[in-house]
Amino acid sequence: MSSATMSEDSIQTLARPKRWHILVFLLPAFIIYSTVMILPLVETLRLSLFNTVDGQSTFVGLANFQMLFGEERWAADFWRALKNNFIFFAIHMLVQNPVGIALAAMLSIPKLRLATFYRTAIFLPTLLSFVIVGFIWKLILSPIWGITPFFMDLVGLKSFFAPWLGKPGSALIAVSLISVWQNIGIPMMLIYAALLNIPDEVIEAAECDGVTGWSQFWKIKLPLVLPAIGMVSILTFVGNFNAFDLIYTVQGALAGPDGSTDILGTLLYRTFFGFQLQLGDRSMGATIATVMFLIILAGVSLYLFGIQRRVRRYQF
């Protein structure tokens, strides 16, 4: 016992001097994080309260926000982008995540052969650059050179083919599904990892009680991976409301046809940087960026305080 007390003593004596090294070691990360994350964020929030009046940058309070929500055309653009963004998000939640869970569940079946191959193949698009994804899908769906009309013709469904990316009614759904195709690997991997974490004893116990197959998935496995599903949902939310790249590469900055694929990210890009003859408007751009930040903040907070605290976690 004496050795234990001695070491405790020595810990206490060691703890007494000010532990500067902690500060020193934290400092680089703190500086880098502040300069590349916090500072631009604060600067964006600040810029949204300023506008150019007579060539001078002037503090205008909430006038930019008033313009965004009050002026007819700005408001119309903004609400359309927000609506499209919610549809974009809904398609991800309804297609990407359930299919991701289903794929993960299938991959975790121990008897499945070639599981590693499927896992890699499904995850691979996530690693591709969105530029490549946008380009190949534009080609696949092209009514002129695309393979889609050809394959649909082979199975006699040619009459159902339409230039989906060019029709206002279907363009947003088509782009959303391309994004789902690209990103489905992420929910699949996270849920797959969560499923592998379920101890065999739990499954065995369930089997002893006669819970097998589908009911085992619904009653045992799904409740156990719920926290992971929550995590995936919030990642999808943040990703979708920050999305820009795929729409930009597939549909261009004007997010055509007729603005039907315009989401907050493309609206922000056009406003902030300008497009063709339209000059960039930094103040209004920063205003849109601030609203996007607030939407994401609200969504994440809702999840953190409303849902995550109530999700029951099981300790094994």
Binding site: R73, S142, P163, L165, D258, Q276, Q278
Partner: protein, 419 residues
């Protein structure tokens, strides 16, 4: 290298370099541009021709993607990292750059006397006093057609609207070719190759454009709605799935010989000459009835200006004077057929297609794109709105009247014509 020489060198470069006299090292001038298609011509023809005459000055051509150019350039200029020479978009984008103090005035640049006021109009302040870019080239709109297709189908080159649609009907009935190679996916094709191509015929070129700026005409007036009505009729003659057809798709459809007529800008000539395996011809936008005056869009498209913060203004001015010279005009117009020199000295061009385009200058009245001067200064931006509206009209998702009304409403929201 010893420390003293290093010090001396630093001192020398700080004193002499700022005065622009450092002659030990070659001065490198960088050109910002959106014309990445022209990279080889600059590298192989234009830059060597200049460097041969001006030892000690090296020129680097650094293009960005066309749709990103304006945004990227403005960001670079604000950050102070832009090149010495700035390729100027026509009208307001460059005017805004000049007003921010990023472009230097070129009024006293030797060689500027080679350009007419019309040629300089796209890069001159509203009061006409200061010119800030050397005009380089203009582009002309029209239609390029597959001559072999026209010959086999026995179609004569259409001159009137009725003949034009009769020709399209004939091509469609035959079925070998897609009558018109155009898509609406990229939006700007519909506006630039469609609306701005045929439009001047209906709004009578400069006359209508000036009236629109003065507020005497509105976009909802008949001369401005009619081009939309004609465009709506194009729908039936475009290829399958034209809604998702991109600009490169249209170019390929035509050069592969699958389409008969291509609503074009003269900038296509260079590319089409190298890719198309058939004979090509061109015709100007058809007039409404035989004998009417024809109007063409002869749009000032490219200029080049001097970055006000350039470290080598003297060398850059030397380069600009050379750009303003007939020698440059000759090399440029001939290596880039379809980009017509704005220099008052006539340039002899060898390309037959380019000659055909430029010959319209003599019989038709030229104008520039209606949305470029003054009218795209505010939000919503008339040019960008016209892209969307033209595509909608061709797609059939909006009527010509509704599209025109939307455009006028957007313009009214910020533009108050001077009375």
């Amino acid at each position: 290298m010893t420390r003293t020489t290093l010090k001396g060198l630093l001192l020398a470069s700080s004193i002499l370099g700022s005065a622009g006299l450092a002659n030990a090292e070659d001065v490198t001038l960088t050109i910002e541009s959106w014309r990445n298609d022209d990279l080889t011509i600059w590298q192989e023809k234009l830059i060597p021709a200049f460097e041969a005459k001006n030892p000690g000055i090296k020129v680097k051509f650094a293009p960005t993607a066309p749709t990103e150019y304006n945004a990227a350039l403005n960001a670079k200029l604000d950050a102070g990292s832009a090149g010495d020479l700035i390729t100027c978009r026509p009208f307001d984008p460059s005017l805004a750059v000049f007003e921010k103090g990023h472009l230097a005035s070129l009024n006293d640049l030797p060689g500027m006397e080679n350009f007419t006021p019309v040629a300089k109009s796209a890069w001159t302040t509203d009061d006409g006093k200061t010119t800030f870019c050397v005009p380089m080239a203009s582009v002309i709109h029209g239609f390029i057609y597959n001559k072999d297709a026209f010959d086999t189908l026995g179609i004569a080159v259409p001159t009137t609207e009725a003949e034009f649609f009769a020709a399209l009907d004939k091509i469609k009935a035959d079925g070998t070719y897609i009558p018109l190679a155009m898509g609406t996916k990229d939006l700007w094709e519909a506006a630039t190759m469609g609306y701005q191509n045929i439009g001047p015929t209906y709004w009578k070129g400069e006359e209508g454009r000036a009236a629109l700026i003065k507020g005497e005409q509105k976009l909802t007036d008949a001369p401005w709605v009619e081009p939309f009505k004609v465009l709506a009729k194009w729908k039936d003659y475009l290829g399958d799935g034209f809604e998702a057809q991109t600009y490169p798709d249209s170019q390929n459809l035509f050069t592969l010989g699958r389409a008969a007529i291509y609503p074009a800008g003269s900038w296509e000539i260079g590319l089409f000459n190298t890719q198309a395996q058939f004979k090509m011809g061109a015709f100007p936008p058809p007039v409404k009835s035989a004998g009417d005056t024809c109007y063409i869009s002869d749009h000032n498209d490219i200029g080049v200006g001097l970055n006000a913060k350039s470290a080598h203004p003297e060398e850059a001015k030397k380069f600009l004077s050379w750009v303003a010279s007939p020698e440059f005009a000759d090399i440029y117009a001939n290596s880039l057929p379809g980009f017509f020199s704005l220099n008052s000295t006539p340039v002899k061009m060898n390309d037959p297609l380019a000659q055909e385009f430029v010959s319209w200058r003599e019989k038709c009245k030229p104008t520039i794109r209606s949305t470029y001067q003054i009218l795209s200064r505010g939000t919503p931006n008339l040019e960008n709105e016209t892209w969307v509206a033209s595509a909608n009209v061709i797609n059939g998702t909006e009527t010509p009247e509704a599209a025109a009304e939307k455009l006028q409403k957007g313009l009214d929201s910020w533009y108050k014509p001077a009375k």
